[in-house]
């Protein structure tokens, strides 16, 4: 099924390339949105190096089979995108770019990348979840103490998307990280603690908190509308070489949560203690979950009762940020991985076959790629 889809897209792009010679443009779907970045490609968020304000957006076009870097800059210069692009998401015609160290969310047109506004007044925004055209939620870390290296409780900012202003803040757990909306509720992973906060999206009031393993950091929804939570466990560093201690750390886990009853159905605990799972991503049809663990990518059937024993993608000794971002393209089923080498040179996007885990190709993007928005 996936193969056919991919073949079709190749065929289409080949046809378009041919047609481009004869006609000035090629639209396989005339009702589609207009704009250079509107369709048949992938927007890539590049985090950039902290304090340098060199975050960027790249665009990979399936039509031309080429990547364009600094797309945001190209459209909006001399406007600077900002510092540390932590998360990028699309809602309708809007693209929301969470600029962590700029303390704002930049709003751009998702088809043209033209900057349209910003949501200011945020302290250290991490991730955004959009409910509808009117409302969104942003997680923020608060109260870092450089002496103790500890944070206070963070918050969720409720944003009115018509005015791009924060209308309310909700105090949640420590270091709230990813957030997800389902079943009329917002689920917030409090990565500095061991809970998931549940917020009613009608009232914006906290409904309850669900206790999970320590360090919940990423969330995904499966085919059965079950919520998956990855938790890192408690990590203890070896004081001599600063590696994570296998002996003294507690293992990470994946938990399956029923979002209706707010209960943990299953917890799958890793046997290795030192590595942490993260970047939980569900397949487009929700039958599988992909995640990063021990600098490898693993796949998990949503109905499986045990964790996979072999990784899907294993690059051996690989750069530390080899899976800085993970995305599955709905049309092709390909796995996109953002590979950051360091923060002074550009990174890569490496594409993998989601069945075999084999690397297919790669292209160069901006500094530290960490996320993808697939434009159909």
């Amino acid at each position: 099924m996936k193969k056919i889809t991919r073949f079709r897209s190749y065929f289409l792009s080949a046809a378009c390339a041919f047609a481009a010679v004869a006609f000035s443009s090629c639209d396989s779907d005339n009702d589609g949105p207009a704009g250079e970045y509107a369709r048949n490609g992938v927007l890539i968020s590049n985090e950039g190096a902290m304090t340098k304000s060199n975050a960027s957006v790249s665009f990979y076009s399936h039509d031309s089979k080429s990547v364009e870097n600094e797309s945001f800059k190209k459209v909006n210069a001399p406007l600077v995108l900002g510092d540390v692009l932590q998360h990028m998401t699309k809602q309708g015609e809007k693209l929301y770019l969470v600029m962590n160290n700029s303390g704002k969310v930049l709003v751009a047109n998702a088809h043209t990348l033209k900057a349209e506004g910003e949501i200011a007044g945020l302290e250290a925004p991490r991730y955004i979840a959009v409910l509808d055209d009117n409302k969104a939620y942003v997680t923020e870390w608060l109260g870092y103490d450089p002496a103790t290296f500890a944070y206070d409780n963070g918050r969720v900012a409720v944003v009115d998307l018509k005015t791009n202003t924060v209308t309310k803040t909700i105090t949640v757990g420590v270091q709230p990280e990813e957030l997800l909306i389902t079943a009329g509720k917002l689920f917030v992973a409090n990565s500095g603690g061991r809970s998931v906060t549940v917020i009613n999206t009608n009232t914006d009031a906290i409904e309850t908190t669900i206790t999970v393993n320590d360090g919940p950091n990423s969330l995904a929804l499966d085919r059965n509308n079950m919520l998956w939570v990855s938790s890192t466990g408690v990590k203890v560093y070896d004081p001599t070489d600063w590696s994570v201690s296998e002996e003294n750390s507690t293992p990470g886990s994946l938990a399956k949560v029923n979002p209706i009853s707010n209960t943990v159905m299953t917890t799958l605990t890793f046997s290795q203690h030192a590595p942490s799972p993260g970047r939980l991503t569900s397949a487009p049809n929700g039958d599988k979950l992909y995640y990063v663990f021990n600098n490898k990518v693993w796949v998990q059937d949503v109905n499986a009762v045990a964790l996979a024993t072999k990784p899907l993608i294993d690059r051996g000794t690989y750069v530390a940020y080899g899976f800085n971002g993970l995305g599955i393209e709905p049309a092709s089923g390909l796995i996109y991985a953002g590979k950051a080498s360091d923060y002074t040179s550009n990174g890569w996007v490496v594409r993998y076959n989601s069945q075999s885990g084999a690397a297919i190709d790669s292209f160069r993007v901006g500094i530290a790629p960490n996320g993808f928005v697939f434009q159909q």
Binding site: W242, V319, A320, Y321, D342
Partner: protein
């Protein structure tokens, strides 16, 4: 007062004499390399400024500076900031935790002479002299008797500078004291391209408060023995501005540096003996909303040298340098001490009046590992002498090294105790031409160099939780340095012009670990840098102009993004008034005269056109 500009150090004009003033300059042993001295009238123009201002304006060194108040670190011949050694009266004063010097902490008013050694000189100046070295020395006593000077400058963006100095020089004892104080708001207006609509904003995070003093005492114990004491204290409390588009995290840096040294010179039949002992304290505190980092390091340093000179033929200097560090650095998690030593032998030989050679060697010793020996072989030959022309051919091969910094070894997490020292080789050759015709003097120099630095240390992510320094790269830097200076005097007029151009290609040619960019220009190193300086004086009037061009710089090692080239013009005019025996100098200076909007590092706006007016009262 004649001319400005860099006066090229003429090592061949130097005559080896058996009776010599104490402290034979180390440049004597630098045959065939390029050493330039910054002209004192140009330094006077920047009395109210820092070493960063003068080095940026009149040398090929590119300074990476993050704003009007921020740190300014050198990139010399395409190398990194840790590759320029800074010496004060012959001792290395680089901050030991970072292994580099922030030039904006070194006020010009506290420095007597500034010389710049181009290229590697590890044998002469020790660790860190890979791209070059900046040699600072204390004010020397000009004339016997009393003297004093007072200065006050008022400048744009709320900048106030005051300095005072006094000296007494007798037959046996001379004493000099100086102090300065700077307060600057740096509240200039800039377009904030980090906000939609690019509103004009005032810089509100670049305030600076600096003060400091120097003290120099020299005591002639006998006709053959002299004792000197030098003290130098600097204090700087600076706000660090955020990049455009980044949140203001209230970053602030406090630096306190105390340097004390004593120097004993003795002349005997065995030649000159020089013994220096020093205590340095370097305190640095960096705070922002997320950091509170403290560095407090005491450095104890002893250097003993013996120089023997035979007639006008040769001169031999042997010496030993010992360093002991006591570091209280939060990031190390414990007190760290380290001892380093190095021994050196410098030899200069003049087989004829037209040829001088030098052969130098240094070996450093550090517990756990020893860097490879750093030799230098250089020659300077007067090839042609005809009419008013003199043409010299120069050449030099020199080794260099850098002992890893304390951070690179001890920082937790990540510090790498097994890291190896960096090692460099520098090859250069050049021509120097002097032409005199009546009152006209024309001096030109052209050099080409090629430098290889191996085991270049870079921090890299080893796991997703921390970074660690690794001997990652082999870097090749090569380039051309051209400079020419013409000066003349016509009646009451004195004219001088300097033009200089530098081409610097610096690329990583080999990577030992991970995926690294090869054969691309290193970030923040301009390929082209040029300057044009002019000096005009008529009776009591002096006019100085300086035009500096810095070419395009890449902001990343992939050469994907760059910052545009920029040209800056500065102008200054001085007028002298005689007040009896004393003198009053009134000055007006303008920097960035053309009001050019530019950045040195990305997203860090620099000040627009500025004006400064000063009065200087001199009692000779």
């Amino acid at each position: 007062m004649t001319a400005s500009a860099i006066a090229q150090q003429d090592t061949t004009l130097y005559q080896l004499r058996t009776v010599e003033i104490f402290g034979k300059p180390a440049e004597v042993f630098a045959s065939g390399s390029r050493v330039s001295t910054l002209d004192s009238s140009f330094i006077h123009t920047y009395t109210a400024g820092t070493l960063a201002d003068v080095i940026q304006a009149r040398t090929p060194v590119f300074l990476k500076t993050n704003g009007p108040s921020g740190i300014a670190v050198p990139a010399f011949r395409g190398t990194s900031p840790t590759h320029t050694a800074v010496l004060w009266n012959g001792l290395n004063i680089s901050q030991p935790a970072l292994g580099q010097s922030d030039f904006s902490l070194l006020p010009v008013s506290s420095i007597g002479n500034i010389a710049v050694q181009h290229g590697a000189a590890g044998a002469t100046y020790g660790s860190g002299a890979i791209g070059g070295a900046v040699l600072l020395s204390s004010q020397t006593q000009p004339d016997p008797g009393f003297g004093a000077e007072l200065m006050q400058e008022v400048g744009s963006f709320g900048r106030y500078f005051s300095s005072a100095n006094a000296r007494y020089s007798g037959r046996k004892v001379s004493v000099a004291l100086s102090g300065y104080r700077v307060a600057a708001e740096n509240d200039f207006a800039f377009r904030d391209y980090g906000r939609i609509g690019a509103p004009t904003r005032r810089q509100d995070q670049a305030q600076v408060a600096q003060h400091g003093f120097t003290q120099d005492v020299s005591w002639q114990l006998s006709s053959k023995t002299r004792l000197a004491l030098h003290g130098w204290y600097t204090y700087a409390n600076r706000e660090v501005p955020p990049s455009l588009g980044a949140a203001n995290t209230n970053a602030r840096q406090l630096d306190r540096n105390l340097r004390l040294m004593t120097e004993l010179n003795h002349h005997s039949n065995w030649g000159e003996t020089s013994v220096k002992a020093a205590i340095f304290n370097d305190y640095l505190r960096y705070t922002d909303n997320n950091n509170n980092s403290l560095t407090d390091i005491n450095t104890y340093q002893v250097q003993a040298e013996q120089t023997y000179t035979y007639a006008r033929r040769w001169s031999l200097r042997g010496g030993l340098n010992l360093q002991h560090f006591e570091a209280d650095v939060q990031g190390y998690g414990r007190q760290v001490t380290e001892d380093r030593a190095s021994a050196f032998l410098l030899f200069r030989y003049d087989p004829s009046q037209r040829l001088d050679l030098s052969l130098n060697l240094r070996q450093a010793f550090v517990k756990g590992y020893n860097p490879t020996p750093a030799p230098t072989l250089g020659a300077n030959w007067l090839m042609l002498q005809q009419g008013g022309h003199a043409l010299y051919l120069k050449g030099n091969v020199s080794g260099s090294y850098r002992v890893p910094t304390l951070n690179e070894r001890f920082w937790q997490p990540g510090g790498n105790p097994d890291i190896k020292p960096e090692q460099g080789w520098n090859f250069e050759t050049g021509l120097r031409h002097r032409y005199t015709l009546g009152a006209v003097l024309l001096e030109s120099e052209a050099s080409v160099y090629r430098m290889l630095v191996d085991n270049w240390i870079q921090w890299m992510p080893v796991t997703s939780s921390y970074w660690s320094p690794r001997n990652l790269q082999k870097v090749r830097s090569q380039g051309v340095e051209l400079s020419s200076r013409a000066s003349t005097a016509l009646g009451n007029w004195q004219l001088a012009a300097t033009v200089a151009y530098t081409y610097t290609s610096s690329e990583q040619v080999k990577a030992y670990e991970g995926s690294q960019e090869l054969n691309r220009q290193l970030a923040h190193i301009p390929l082209h840098k040029a300057h044009l300086g002019t000096d005009l004086s008529f009776r009591t009037w002096t006019l100085l102009g300086n035009l500096t061009y810095n070419g395009l710089r890449y902001t990343d090692n992939s050469n994907a993004n760059n910052l545009p080239a920029y040209t800056l013009l500065s102008l200054a005019v001085h007028k002298k008034f005689a007040l009896g025996q004393s003198q009053l100098v009134a000055s007006l200076r303008s920097d960035n005269v053309t009001d050019r909007a530019y950045t040195v590092l990305e997203n860090m706006p620099m000040p627009p056109r500025s004006l400064a007016a000063s009065l200087r009262f001199i009692i000779p």
